[in-house]
């Protein structure tokens, strides 16, 4: 992943999306994400999170409003073109997987982007290594358990080495080792300067792995800030309005009157400083 380009910016302006049938999934969303930024999008089921990110690579087109990728309006660009910039790993890996071997599956994306030879091999090997799937390279994807199929879907996106990576519920169905692996991947992408956007219901993962948290409710953004800001006690009623709860570390910090402690490390530091 070392040769990959660094991140690029993505933004949506006044984004509205109405599905056929009339469901207004996005109701005027403004969001600007800087190159290299790590953003977690949280909110209850049906709040518009997945609809929002599907606009970033052109899978969905705005009913009104604009999507800007690297400063350019995405409206005129085809999905195949946008896919070279924004990689999206679906929530349900089975919507994504189709090849006969794990290696073929992971190779498909970068091959489609024109990678060949050692460049292709290196990208695929790095993605298999990061997701812990090296030993499964020749296996049939459907012989893998759900958690490994999910990691495979992630590997397929990593191998495309896109400047922007979008992960829809990456930790769902993962055990402790799987979650740790996903956290490690997010950290190394961030360290490489790539733009990482993740949808998650796991507030701990959101607080521990991302510098910015965007809270959605009914197709709108209702809070946007650092974990310390979004999970601070005054913001709890906003979180509760979309049925979210701050991570336990933040709740204990508030109870001990230690200020906003969204991560477990920040809580331990605050407690240590207070004794």
């Amino acid at each position: 992943m070392t040769e990959a380009p660094t991140g690029t910016s993505v933004a949506v302006e006044g984004l509205v999306h109405v599905y056929p049938g009339g469901t207004r999934a996005l109701d005027g969303v403004d969001l600007a994400i800087a190159p290299g930024e790590g953003v977690a999008i949280v909110g209850q089921n049906g709040s518009g999170k997945s609809t929002l990110v599907r606009h970033l690579n052109g899978l969905l087109r705005p009913t009104s409003g604009r999507v800007l990728v690297a400063g350019t309006d995405a409206a005129g660009r085809r999905v195949a073109h946008l896919a070279a910039t924004v990689g999206l790993a679906f929530q349900d890996p089975d919507r994504q997987i189709f090849a006969r071997t794990v290696r073929a599956e992971v190779s498909f994306g970068p091959r489609n982007l024109g990678r060949r030879g050692t460049k292709l091999e290196r990208a695929v090997d790095a993605a298999l290594d990061a997701t812990g799937l090296v030993a499964d390279a020749e296996a049939n994807p459907y012989d893998l358990g759900y958690s490994r199929r999910k990691l495979l879907a992630l590997a397929s996106v990593l191998a495309m080495e896109t400047p922007v990576i979008v992960l829809d519920e990456p930790t769902t169905g993962q055990d402790a080792r799987g979650v740790a692996r996903v956290e490690q991947i997010v950290a190394s992408l961030a360290a490489a300067g790539r733009t990482v956007i993740a949808i998650s219901h796991d507030m701990r993962f959101a607080a521990e792995s991302f510098g910015r948290i965007v809270v959605m409710r009914d197709g709108r953004i209702v809070a946007d800030g650092s974990p310390a800001e979004v999970f601070a006690e005054p913001a709890w009623p906003t979180l509760a309005s979309t049925f979210l709860e701050p991570p336990l570390a933040a709740r204990i910090g508030a109870r001990l009157l230690l200020g906003s402690t969204p991560t477990e490390a920040s809580l331990v530091t605050a407690v240590t400083g207070s004794v």
């Binding site: 089921n45 049906g46 993962q174 402790a176 979210l244 407690v271």
Partner: protein, 273 residues
């Protein structure tokens, strides 16, 4: 009571057993959590404990499954379904595919039990209310989000008011509010005397819900005991199971003078309440 004795199971067409010599007992009104790393055999154990394996999906079972004193091997599929209800990880596997609305989908369970119409409707309404599904009762079950489908699947199961329930990751796709609703619904079911086995990665949910927790690894039960004792054991993480936030923070803060009871009390109450 539902009980597995010396249960070992091999899937049809496979050479090796994936479940080895499992003894597991679910008492009436008891909620037992099932934890373990991915591919440890949690889903297989759910299939075997519900009788679906081998009755519906084939394969070979050694040992016995006994349900309320009756050996499952002697029961017809419909008799088994009346006694044990199973909820799968992927709600799409569960969906009937024949119901036009969410209401009908939930009603199919009690209807199949041959209950009178009034009771079917009453149970359906109650299950829908419990999981706060009123806003989507008229929606097409095929066109729901993953989280909504999962809640509908659990409502359908609640409406059957089964004696025994086996759930494989019932909250995998749910947001925190949905997860809490499911927890409350399962607790209410247990209060009516139903026994439950709940396989989950979300140990935060199991922490407040279960009386007992069973850990499985490599197809074998490696721990079985009171929920707190198992979930507080540092060895759980070595097994690849994420400990509940309460247990992890209790440990991290113990040496710093923060009482474990304060951590537990904070974990047990909703933020801001």
């Amino acid at each position: 009571m539902l009980e597995l004795r010396g249960a070992s199971y091999r899937y049809a067409g496979y050479a090796k057993e994936v479940l080895h010599d499992v003894d597991l007992r679910l008492d009436d009104g008891e909620i037992v959590g099932l934890v373990g790393p991915n591919e440890a055999g949690k889903s297989t154990l759910c299939l075997v404990a519900s009788g679906l394996a081998p009755a519906s999906i084939g394969g070979t079972l050694r040992g016995t499954l006994t349900i309320d004193g009756v050996e499952a091997a002697g029961l017809a599929t419909h008799e088994l379904a009346e006694r044990v209800v199973v909820g799968f990880q992927n709600p799409n596997t569960q969906r009937s595919g024949i119901a036009a609305t969410v209401f009908e989908e939930v009603a199919l369970g009690p209807m199949n039990l041959g209950l009178p119409v009034e009771e079917t409707v009453e149970r359906t309404r109650e299950a829908i209310a419990r999981l706060k599904l009123e806003p989507i009762v008229r929606r097409d079950p095929q066109r729901l989000s993953g989280g909504q489908s999962q809640l509908v699947g659990i409502a359908a199961l609640l409406a059957m008011r089964p004696r025994h329930v086996i759930l494989d990751e019932p909250t995998a796709q749910l947001d925190p509010a949905g997860t809490r609703l499911v927890g409350e619904a399962l607790r209410a079911l247990a209060g009516m005397g139903t026994s439950l086995l709940v396989a989950e990665h979300k140990t935060d949910l199991l922490d407040g819900l279960c009386t007992r927790v069973v850990a499985i690894d490599g197809g074998r039960i490696v721990r079985d005991g009171p929920a707190r004792e198992i979930l507080d054991d540092p060895a759980l993480a070595e097994l690849g199971v994420e400990p509940p936030a309460r247990a992890r923070l209790s440990r991290a803060l113990a040496g710093l003078g923060v009482d474990a009871e304060l951590v537990a009390a904070t974990a047990a109450t909703e933020a801001g309440s």
